[in-house]
Symmetry: D2
Subunit: 337 residues, 4 copies
């Protein structure tokens, strides 16, 4: 049975997901798309050589009887609306981050989903599908390094533009760590503090860069995440877990080691799109398979909500300079791990 | 359009390819299979939850009007017969190694294919589809290390059984290097010599292990390949290219680095099946896509023939202790690189 | 000219320094030693095959006309007294850490030295003489990675005994980072905060382990140092400097990489004495050479004072849970960098 | 007791050894030097601030009653003469490589030493004193990787001048491997073969570069050594030992790992003088200590002879293209390992 997908929003991310689902992954095809710019939508479909219905309104995609499940890849402020509509229509929905613009918005989606009685939402957090993170988690759950006590992480971009502001380090950049570190530790954040080193001369007036975000989790794990979006040297994700018995580290992306010009080494990535490129395929194939199997298992609306609550605390901590609590309600049975 | 595949031989490799084509890859489905043991074939299909016609004779698969293209994964001695039959039927055929049991057999397939007038054969050499080898080749063709002068390679198994004999180091183990190193260097072998270190105490009477195979190519590149099939420590493939400007090395498989018990390091593979596991998916998807596009681009019958000619010279060199020429005819335009 | 040394305290460290100066280094010999336990002192000299005068009182060593310079390796509480006495006698003195038991004690030594008018004191902080740290500093001062913005460090022991308490993580363990990180960054600490992850089950009631010490320097560099003294896996020192242009990392100790038992890796150190073993030779040879040249250049009494002031702030921070200022007076011209 | 040294030949190497013995090492001082160019000798001593007798004739150094032991660092063709003279005078002699210009010359020295009745000669092969090689040997002798079966080695220079000819790859470059690999394996060479890849465009008419030298040892170990003296990228020594249980590799020189300009890596050496710089100190200190202890333990005249015999076979193999025997007489008890 081929799962019939509707895609809301045919911008860059939407087009990539359309390409994946139709040309790379198994068991699904895109039958309907929507975008405010329907000409652009049609052009995209033509480029991808895909035959699908074009609508201007995402709700038409959701309500189309041809559509079994929905991908939301539209403008961020519309995510909550379309996700709620998909739940109302009883259709599984893969919603790209952010699930909603606020914790409250995420909470509305959680409540709607619980009321529906069955999980319908998968949030587009791809790192839990990255082979490196999965291998790292396996080392931890296999008990190889004992109970985790500390995590040392970094999220570095070569550079960002003038419209990237201090808060975006949390909402756009750290948001991925906020999800994957909860998944890795099977824990929730308890408090957060943000400290600022001297700002790099490569930043601009509206961006204090780098930043270091310090978490304490409910189990007492201490996590530090360095966010450095004008690091100059490359796109680099680091994650080291210090346990009672030893340490495990996220692998570097595979690369050819060369000896040349008196240097031994390898190239680093520079484009964020390359770092987790395989994980996008894996997360969408998992969504497709889970929908067909009748049970979603990926990052849930609760995970989207948890990341949003944590992000809010981080933003508060950026401004207060103090230790801010992360007021996370207890996990409903509906979302039992 | 879904490519309809027939699979001849439903042993371990055949089942894996059936699983791939039906459940993982895009654009194809298995409609017919054959095996001398039809009960085993049916059981396999059941396990894989696949609905396909079951025959006892591979020729029935080849001749079935339902079948667009054929995968030959049967007992080695039958590969030549089925591949020739597929060519006679004008159907694309993916033939697992070995293409034939002898260079002459490979030559017959080459001649039949040339006579047919269009490439129909892809040989199951998967290493050119391995991401690491591809990245290594790109570094070379990008000119990063200059003209290749030497290659230092190794192919190591943890251990082999009593029925693995000295010659199998060439026919079963080295055969993959024989293909991928031609592909990597875009060159052909000119001569080969085999030297034997002292035999490991972990070998048995009928197996001189390790061995070192030394090649000179037509461009003058010197290649050494250490074959060590009872190396004890793991499954390990190494390939280092020394060029005029520098050196490039095949990456180690990705692994989690740990610090534990006074050691810093990572696990090595032990099962050969894990090393190129992704490449099997890539090579078959490439076959499927190429068949649909109307032009095969993967390892050709000529490549199968070349590997077989080289293997023969290696076997001769094992016994003579001398430098044996590799009598490779010039490449027909039909198989232009 | 052979520098004639007197060594106060012939315990383990004292004996090692005696051995170094007499048998390994150039240009000095030990002519007098003292220890409360004179029998032990004689036995040590016999074992080392060294002929030297034995006193019970360190002041006799300092005042001996045979002694040109003094090494203080006695019980910590006596360091200040002997160092002040050496200054009073106008003799160069190498004082093992701690320079004194308190910042005030260090200040007294600084004042005495300034009053004397010429540097006489070198403190036994050996890390600035470690080849790895020196190479790291050179990379920074050569401008390779741009202005330092953040340092991520770790100091890990396999295990400590029952008498190692929470405060000792600062006074005994971190004290080395307190000095070398000032040297590396050519900066002083401005504030410090200590956070505690969940305590490892391998610790004991009087020791909260691990700890993370967070510094801000006067130039605005943020430094985090993980102190984990029951880490279980080995003795491990890490130091990574994140600059505006790139990152530089302290090298791992040299080790043989092996492939064995399905693992690729190398041994880690377990004994702290092995980590900086060469640096002790280098720091003492530097002291000897500097005394003969007439000008001390190693870690000064001011550096000892600065480390002590910082340590006090760390201890306060351990208890307060807050951000504690490091009240460092400005550097006297006498100790210009 | 200070060992009084005489140094024959005050060129670059001689000056370095003079500096070491007088200023760095323990227990010796240079009391006499000689050089054909006595003005140059005096200038060198002045630069090094050393007071010593200057002669024009090395025999005067050897015969001086002030001289306890001799270092021969003169023009290669004079090594045999001075070493024999030192033996005749009954004085320990450290002779820089080559011990003599021919195997016969080395044999003469061996015979003279045996006749003298006590070892007097240490040859300046420094690699057995390199910390990396020592650690590698320890891994082997500790049995960690089981019986050695194969060694894969490389000796690479960035570039050489017009006067470096094909044979010098053996006599000047490989000569160090010829000694250290015998020491590492505690074995002797049985046969050698030299193969030539295509020559690098960076070489010149009189130099076939690179070369690969293939050895079989008496225990049956197979060794390959790639010699590439215009490798362009750096000065690089590689040595990997494949044993029955695993593999051990010579460590890379310690270096700072950086992330910069989209590359992760470290600098490689370019100057051969830097690679074993510490080993020169260690080998000479060992000579000094051994002379004082009354028993030489370093590379012997027999080792010099063995390297020379092997070199001759390599040169023959370069020209014959065949497998040449290494006619090594059995080791006299005088030189028992």
């Amino acid at each position: 049975m081929t799962l019939k997908l509707g895609v809301i929003g045919t911008g860059a991310i939407g087009q990539e997901h359309i390409r994946r689902c139709n040309n790379v992954l198994q068991g699904a095809k895109v039958v309907a798309v929507s975008d405010i710019n329907t000409d652009g939508a049609r052009a995209a479909l033509q480029r991808l050589n895909i035959d699908a219905q074009v609508y201007q309104d995402g709700h038409e995609v959701i309500n189309s009887p041809e559509v079994d499940a929905v991908l939301v890849t539209s403008w961020d402020p519309t995510h909550e609306e379309f996700t709620l509509a998909a739940i109302a229509a009883g259709k599984p929905v893969f919603c790209e981050k952010p699930l909603a613009l606020s914790a409250e918005g995420c909470r509305r989606i959680v409540d709607a989903e619980i009321k529906h009685g069955k999980r319908l939402v998968q949030v587009g957090f791809m790192r839990p599908y990255d082979a490196g993170y999965r291998a790292l988690k396996k080392v931890i759950t296999d008990g190889e390094i004992g109970e985790p006590l500390m995590l040392h992480c970094a999220h570095r971009n070569q550079s960002v533009g003038e419209n990237y502001t201090t808060d975006m380090a949390i909402t756009n950049t750290l948001i991925h760590e906020l999800d994957v570190l909860r998944w890795l530790t099977e824990d929730d954040y308890k408090s957060v503090q943000v400290v600022f080193p001297r700002t790099t001369s490569k930043s601009h007036a509206k961006l204090k860069d780098p930043q270091i975000v310090l978490f304490e989790t409910q189990k007492g794990i201490r996590i530090d995440v360095e966010i450095f979006v004008n690091c100059a040297y490359g796109y680099d994700i680091q994650c080291e877990v210090v346990g009672e018995e030893g340490i495990a580290k996220l692998p570097e992306p595979s690369a050819i080691q060369t000896r040349k010009n008196a240097r031994l080494g390898n190239a680093l990535l520079t484009d964020w799109k390359d770092r987790f490129i395989d994980a996008y395929d894996v997360e969408l194939q998992a969504f497709i398979n889970d929908v067909k199997a009748g049970e979603l298992t990926g990052p849930s609306a609760w995970d989207g909500f948890a990341a949003s609550v944590a992000a809010d605390a981080c933003l508060k901590a950026q401004n207060s300079g103090g230790i801010e609590p992360v007021d996370m309600p207890s996990r409903p049975d509906f979302y039992a791990r």
